[in-house]
Amino acid sequence: MKKASHKTIRNDIILVLSLLLIASIGLFYLFVLRDTGDTVKVTIGGENYGTYSLSKDIAKDIISGKNNEHHNLLIIKNGKVYMKSANCPDGLCVKHKPIFRDGESIVCLPNQVVVTISQNQKDNIVDAVA
């Protein structure tokens, strides 16, 4: 077996550093530059299901599937959104931390439910000024 040369190790380091750089730019954008959202959009299998305000506390049982066999209990409370319960096999959506920033989402892959935060008011303000 040929030993790793200096050149391949240098290339490895360049690869790792560029990936870390890409990720940190992304994280900086997501956590520092991005504002809190105001609208909660729910889609099922890519189709629009409903839109809710982030500032109004609600509990919404999202029923989906051919025979209404899927359910996800979505909670909007104190300006944050989380999945309180779901009957999906992996339960990953329930474990997801509450979301509130523009563009953040909770995805339930088995039930095909996607909950996304967006920011609509800012766009409206820009429109009004323009």
Binding site: M1, A4, K7, T8, I9, N11, D12, L15, V16, L19, L20, I22, A23, G26, L27, L30, T43, G45, G46, P89, D90, L92, K95, H96, K97, G103, E104, S105, V107, L109, P110, Q112, V114, T116
Partner: protein
């Protein structure tokens, strides 16, 4: 082609090993408790080893058999589609970089790990017809890179230490 019992047995052992590693991974505490679904990709140690010592065909066969078996045993159709998308993209990238010979096992493993995660995200975007995966993508690039380094180092050890005699008839 002649039927080679030893070869078949070896494929079986390697596949079983990857499945054991996948199981151990499930038992370990999650890397990020707040972000579910992120795994180290321990089975990739075996795939990496096979890629270097037995070639791309052998590595691909074991990887694909593993994904099919795991999905049949524990998953559903959706889980299979995510795994196979990640698995195939990761294999292609690793085979390509191995052939180019410009990275060590660590570089190949990092690229494979990140490609695996990107493949899964792309399949999710396709199936759910949404582009809202930026957050997952960044976290998965980060964890794919870090676990790729560890797996590359483990793989390098195996590639160096396991003698060629275990493959002989």
């Amino acid at each position: 082609m002649k039927y080679k019992p030893k070869l078949v047995a070896f494929v079986g052992i390697c596949t079983a090993l990857t499945m054991v590693l996948a199981y151990i991974e499930v038992l370990l505490p999650p890397l990020f408790p707040s972000i579910p679904g992120i795994k180290m990709g321990l089975p990739n140690i075996i795939i990496l080893f096979l890629l270097y010592r037995r070639g791309p065909v052998f590595a691909s066969v074991v990887s694909i058999i593993r994904i099919v078996l795991i999905s049949m045993l524990f998953g559903n159709m959706m889980a299979f589609l995510y795994s196979i998308a990640g698995g195939i993209l990761s294999l292609l990238i690793m085979i390509l970089l191995r052939r180019l010979q410009c990275f060590s096992t660590v570089g190949v493993s990092v690229a494979g790990g990140v490609a695996h995660n990107i493949g899964q995200i792309l399949m999710a975007m396709l199936l759910l017809e949404t582009a809202e995966f930026g957050y997952y993508l960044i976290i998965l690039i980060l964890t794919g890179t870090i676990s790729g380094i560890l797996i590359g180092l483990c793989g390098a050890l195996l590639i160096k230490r396991i003698p060629e005699s275990i493959f002989k008839d």
